[in-house]
């Protein structure tokens, strides 16, 4: 459950060919096997968020397709849920009500909702904070709620849009480790968008490096390093240098 196939995907904003139109993506093709963690790495404005929005069903593609287990994505839904950079927690719901929202939308009976919510509160480490409102929680805690809320609906594909960009460096590194821990406990097909090389190496099985706009996949790299990833390891550093060169070409 959860093989992602992106095929010849293109996105043009405005009428194609007209002077105001912007080509965000051009002919993007790649695959992410079931339960693999894939990072989309690129500069801001390379169309990586557009790619994510199409995969989440928020925007239609201009050409090509995104499919999970051979079912093309046409609309937003729990099967392909998204975690936002600004968390997008519902401010009028407590942490546990936020987590239970998707379960309620799936019309699960209330005892089941409670069990699942409880499970994810424990999994992401929110014990004791379940009755707090989002504005009473720190940034890291809010992102935990967002992760739990997304995992609770058992998506086939989990999309993350620079989920840790709003956190300070220390919290970010800690939350990255937490995400790996959670994902190893409950594997999912994940597509994470980032502009941080370290974040991409630390978290992913595979990395799609994007070109400048219009975004194409410049190189698709299988990381193949053992977890937990050691930042001082030679092969880590070699990969980091390679990614930096790939990305650097795109600036000039």
């Amino acid at each position: 459950m959860g093989q992602l196939v992106v095929k010849n995907l293109s996105k043009v904003y405005g009428d194609a060919g007209s002077p105001g139109s912007v080509a965000a993506l051009r002919d993007v093709t790649f695959e992410v096997p079931n339960n693999h963690f894939c990072a989309i790495l690129g500069h801001s404005g390379c169309g990586k968020t557009t790619l994510l929005n199409i995969a989440a069903g928020f925007e239609p593609p201009t050409a090509g397709s995104v499919a999970v287990d051979n079912v093309p994505i046409r609309a937003p839904g729990w099967q392909n849920t998204m975690i936002f950079q600004d968390y997008a927690l519902f401010p009028w719901m407590t942490a546990s009500q936020n987590i239970a929202f998707g379960l309620e939308m799936k019309r699960l009976p209330s005892h089941k909702r409670m069990d699942i919510t409880r499970h994810y509160i424990e999994l992401v480490g929110l014990d004791g904070f379940e009755d707090k409102f989002p504005h009473q929680l720190s940034g890291g805690m809010r992102q935990r709620v967002a992760i739990a809320r997304a995992l609770a609906v058992q998506p086939h594909l989990l999309l993350m849009d620079e989920p840790f960009a709003a956190l300070d460096a220390q919290n970010r590194s800690f939350m990255q480790d937490e995400l790996v821990r959670i994902w190893q406990r409950e594997p999912k097909t994940v597509v994470l968008v980032t502009h941080s090389i370290d974040e991409a190496i630390k978290l992913s099985d595979c990395i799609a490096v994007m070109t400048r706009r219009p975004g194409r996949v410049k190189e698709f790299i299988n990381v193949g390093l053992p977890r937990p990833r050691d930042e001082d390891d030679n092969s880590y550093l070699r990969l980091k240098r390679r990614l930096r060169d790939l990305i650097h070409d795109e600036v000039g």
Partner: protein
């Protein structure tokens, strides 16, 4: 001195009486806060004293008739006590409150309309031109036409109040819906929420603080329009009371009526604010 009073009483009778003691401390700190607030009323006290002096000593010394135009606070207090005791003030107050309440029940239709206008572009584009023309017309400008339509009485009064309430509630509801973080709507859809659930659970909820602000403003504007409507077309209510007293040169009754209008308007506003804080503890805008 004060901090000493806040601390719980320590000593022999501590353990078994924990809960009542906590209550006692809370009451005590409330009283202390009240006393801390009192210095803010210095200015008010000076104004009242000056007024008392002007009305009972200074003005009569110039011209005894002028004293009638500006009743002294002491006279007003006596008149107010009499009107409260006789039930006259309560009678008119209830008449006004009843009109305000019935008008609000109708004006609350601005909430669903505002949500529809804020959410569906088509509804907004069609309805907004009508509202933009009607909105700048002051409720009072409707009085002549409304008297011809409804005659003099409750319906005419309520119509004027309704007009005063409707537009602030409508405008604030539209703004509330339009200002909802689009990512919240996306997040809800991404968690599998169908369109009607997005509307009920996200849009309505998210707009609620702004809707409550609209209701507060609407009730305030309605209260002002109410008094004006009663001046012209009623035989009960606070507006009627002060206008009726004018014909008999009862300036003290007029002043009591005016103060009642002010105090009750303030209480309505405070009640809505307290209700908003109680119902929406998550709203940072309302907690201010």
């Amino acid at each position: 001195m004060q901090s000493e009073n806040v601390a719980p009483v320590s000593g022999s009778d501590s353990m078994p009486a924990m809960a009542p003691q906590a209550d006692e401390v809370r009451t005590r700190s409330r009283i202390i806060r009240l006393f801390a607030f009192l210095p803010n009323l210095t200015m008010l006290a000076i104004v009242i004293l000056a007024w008392q002096f002007a009305s009972s000593i200074w003005l009569p010394s110039i011209d005894p008739h002028m004293a009638v135009l500006m009743p002294a606070p002491s006279t007003i207090a006596v008149t107010a006590a009499g009107m409260i005791a006789s039930g006259e003030l309560l009678f008119h107050l209830l008449a006004s409150l009843k009109r305000e309440a019935s008008a609000f029940l109708i004006a609350a239709t601005a909430i669903p309309l505002g949500i529809a206008m804020g959410w569906w572009r088509l509804v907004y584009n069609q309805v907004n031109p009508i509202m933009e023309i009607l909105r700048p017309i002051p409720p009072l400008a409707w009085i002549p036409l409304s008297i011809l339509w409804f005659g003099i009485g409750d319906e005419q009064n309520e119509f004027i109040i309704f007009l005063g309430m409707f537009f602030p509630i409508l405008v604030n509801t539209i703004v509330g819906v339009k200002n909802i973080d689009p990512n919240l709507v996306r997040a809800a859809r991404s968690l599998g929420a169908p369109e009607h659930k997005v509307l009920a659970r996200i849009v309505l909820k998210g707009a609620l603080p702004q809707i409550i602000t609209g209701v507060r403003i609407g009730l305030g504007v309605g209260w002002m329009a109410l008094v004006a409507a009663e001046l012209v077309g009623a035989n009960s209510g606070l507006g009627f009371l002060i206008n009726d007293a004018r014909s008999m040169l009862r300036t003290d009754t007029i002043t009591v009526g005016m103060l009642a209008i002010g105090v009750v308007g303030f209480l309505i506003d405070s009640a809505i604010r307290a209700l908003g804080r109680q119902l929406l503890p998550w709203s940072l805008a309302l907690s201010k």
